[in-house]
Amino acid sequence: MSLLEITNLTARYASAAGDVLKGINVSVEEGEIVTLLGANGAGKSTTLRSISGLVPFTSGTITLNGQSLLGQGVEAIARLGVSHVPEGRRVFPGLTVTENIMLGASNRKGVSRAEMMREVDEKFDLVPDLIRLKDALGWTLSGGQLQMVAVARGLMAKPRVLLLDEPSLGLAPLIVQQVFKIVAEIRKRGTTVLLVEQNANVALSVADRGYVLETGRVLVSGKPKDLWNDPQVRAAYLGGHAIA
């Protein structure tokens, strides 16, 4: 059994008619980086939101380490070790970088303050750029800095699986490289990652396996190499036209 197993997942938003996800099957093994690719509206983010409990799924199952996440609240799922770094980073604007990162440990019980500070320092080792910003308020940070804070905060949860939603969104190419270096480093240190990306190339460069989604279904899945050369992947992004 995989660490995270999604079977026949269908989901819909309360406001919309029709399913956004129509039977998704995804599995993530311990220690892997798995990426979900696809154009906007393919259902990538919704899949992540279903895992963390933000979107109640209508049918199918999601299990973490064999335990079903069905019907669990968002906070309970976080306590089970699912750490979701959502699209848009969502760093608390009125709190400092240190405070933001510290709060990432809210899902764990009985962590002493000293322990927490030590762990925060570890995160600064991982992302040294943040040290000089440790007392800066969230709203003063740039997009790339926000993304690093969000990832560091997500890691404070000591997650069984880290859900990363569009970390490259709105970032300049150079910054994207930096963020993904950190993602690669995280994996080296043993954290399992489920990564949602529109930027297929960069995502495939760090992933062990990938799934390409289109309108709520898995179109194709496999190793980065195979996906790289798969015309369907291009088509999913740029339309049939761009198939060279």
Partner: protein, 590 residues
């Protein structure tokens, strides 16, 4: 068909109102002459008039006013002071009171309605308190806390309203007329505008509605209705004092409106009657009556969001008859037009910064008349910001927007719409409290539109727009009951009914399933070739390449490509923007 529609609309409700007038006059004269029933009815009827004002401002327009008793009091004091101290006749004094209420309402509205929803609530609370202080303390003018006695009743020519029955009849006839007017307001142009403002201000402003002005009018009307009710109250009881118009009474009036159902004047009638009669029935509760009342307000909010009237309507609601028959096609469809060299929308060096983030960083763009121009780019590239600046929802940091030769850079959104710029929204913004037809009619009622001044023609235009998107059969359904994709069509129909020069489609395919996307592509193709300029923003490349004549690509707030579809979509920068830079060279791979 338009003639029938027009006359049907003109006389709508009038026969029923005449019948109701006859009935209430008869009723007024059979009420037992002893004071008890007369007083209860007098109170109920005058309160109901004031409560119908809350239907307008809160129910239709969604603005909270907590000073209805103050306006009621202004009407009452107008009659009392005018008649007792200035020896005016009842009707001139009544008009004075109504006028003062209306003017103060307009002033308060002008001062507070530009700001968010709770500001009006706060301003009205303050006004209510200050008025009570003045009524109590300005002895020389208001007679102070003891109030004013012996207010005379009027006569009109040979008819005297001095008797209780006759005056009650006057009050009831006024109530019938007010109820008719408020009921008709809801289905008229102004009422629709109010509801649009209530349901979604942004969408209202981009459909040509002056949001601020509409709110001020709604609040002013509610103040006037308060004054009308108050004047009759003074004549009915012939004695008034400041405590009858306190904050607490404003709350009572608000509760009446909510209990009955704030969406309809009939609801407010029911609510007023119930809350006037209830304490009489619940005499045993006398002591804790108001406590029960307070608890009831909470329970109503929790369990009866639409009030008693909403509950009754749900039981008996029948589907309105579909409007059959051919209607004239959208004028657009009878024209043919091709892309011309003329530039209809020109954007120069447009920039929009949010703090340090440069969402738009000097974008220039020319859209030719009659073309379908697509604006694409990955998430966060600035497309939505762009359309929000073009339609006036954001103010640009720098740059210029020219539309049809006119500089609209600093124009308000509703004025841009009136100039012929219509849009749809990425996350659908329809007015959920209204039917499909009403939503589209508001589009057709854009000031300056060819049909805007004629209600019948607006209906016809709206039906034509619904024909075009294939939703004619759903015209009378509540728009919220439609599927997501069909709600998007309603938005498109609403925009088309306004006969725009340029149509801006903000991610029309977002959230649609495959079939719906396919249908949307069909629909957009049918729009082509009629001379309508379309600027479409989307992620869905299949859709974009089907319909676009030109494509502009944004990334990081800058333009990275511009030109014909085939060139643009094969441009290496564009592929990189969508798929990311090729990584072999970047050396990230672990």
């Amino acid at each position: 068909m338009s003639v029938n529609l027009a006359s049907a609309r003109l006389w709508r409700g009038v026969p029923q109102a005449i019948a109701a007038i006859i009935a209430v006059v008869a009723l007024a004269f059979v009420v037992p002459a002893d004071g008890y029933y007369l007083n209860i009815l007098m109170q109920a009827v005058t309160y109901a008039i004031a409560v119908s004002g809350l239907v307008v401002v809160l129910g239709y327009c969604g603005q909270i006013s907590i000073a209805q008793a103050a306006f009621f009091g202004l009407g009452a004091y107008g009659v009392a002071i005018g008649m007792v101290d200035f020896h005016l006749g009842f009707f001139p004094a009544w008009l004075c009171g109504i006028g003062v209420a209306g003017i103060l309402g307009l002033i308060l509205g002008l001062g507070s309605l530009r700001l968010g929803g709770h500001y009006l609530a706060m301003v009205t609370i303050s006004f209510q308190q200050i008025l009570t202080l003045f009524l109590t303390n300005w002895l020389s003018f208001t007679h102070g806390p003891d109030g004013i006695r012996d207010i005379p009743r009027p006569s009109l020519g040979p008819i005297s309203f001095a008797g209780g029955h006759a005056f009650l009849a006057l009050c009831m006839v006024t109530l019938v007329i007010v109820t008719l007017a408020v009921w008709r307001l809801k289905t008229g142009r102004l009422g629709r505008a109010m509801q649009a403002v209530r349901d979604n201000e942004l969408a209202a402003s981009t459909c040509g509605i002056d949001v601020f002005g509409t709110k001020v009018i709604a609040f002013g009307l509610s103040a006037v209705l308060g004054g009308i009710g108050g004047g009759l109250f003074a004549g009915g009881f012939q004695y008034i004092s400041p405590d009858q118009f306190s904050f607490g009474e404003s709350i009572v009036l608000l509760t009446m409106a909510l209990l009955g159902g704030v969406q309809s004047p009939f609801g407010s009638l029911v609510g007023t009657l119930v809350l006037i009669i209830l304490p009489e029935w619940l005499r045993f509760l006398k002591q804790i009556y108001l406590a029960v009342y307070g608890a009831a307000v909470i329970l109503i909010m929790v369990f009866l969001p639409d009030g008693l009237w909403g509950l009754m309507l749900d039981r008996v609601r029948k589907r309105a008859k579909p409007i059959l028959g051919e209607v004239e096609k959208l004028p657009l469809l009878t024209q043919t037009g091709q892309e011309s060299a003329e530039i209809v929308l020109e954007v120069k060096e447009l920039a929009k910064h949010f703090g340090g983030l440069k969402a738009l960083d000097g974008i220039s763009l020319k859209v030719r008349r009659g073309s379908v121009h697509a604006l694409i780019g990955p998430n966060g590239s600035g497309k939505s910001t762009f359309i929000n600046v073009i339609t006036g929802l954001y103010k640009p940091t720098a740059g210029q927007v020219l539309f049809a030769g006119q500089d609209i850079t600093h124009e308000q959104p509703h004025l841009r719409n009136r100039a012929g710029l219509a849009r749809t929204f990425q996350n659908i913004r329809v007015w959920r409290g209204m039917t499909v037809l009403e939503n589209v009619m508001v589009g057709g009622e854009r000031p300056g539109n060819d049909v805007a001044e004629d209600a019948a023609l607006v209906v016809e235009r709206a039906l034509a727009a619904l024909d075009f998107v294939g939703l004619r059969g759903d015209a009378h359904r509540m728009v919220g009951d439609l599927s997501y994709g069909h709600q998007r069509y309603v938005e498109i129909a609403r925009a088309l009914a306004a006969t725009p020069k340029t149509l801006l489609l903000d991610e029309p395919a977002a959230g649609l399933n495959l079939t719906e996307k396919h249908e949307l592509g069909e629909l957009l193709r049918r729009l082509k070739g009629h001379g309508l300029t379309i600027l479409i923003i989307d992620h869905d490349m299949k859709l974009v390449e089907q319909v676009a004549d030109h494509i502009t690509v944004l990334n990081f707030g800058r333009r990275i490509a511009d030109g014909l579809p085939r060139e643009v979509l094969n441009h290496p920068d564009v592929i990189a923007a969508y798929l990311g830079e090729p990584q072999e060279a970047a050396g990230v791979v672990a």
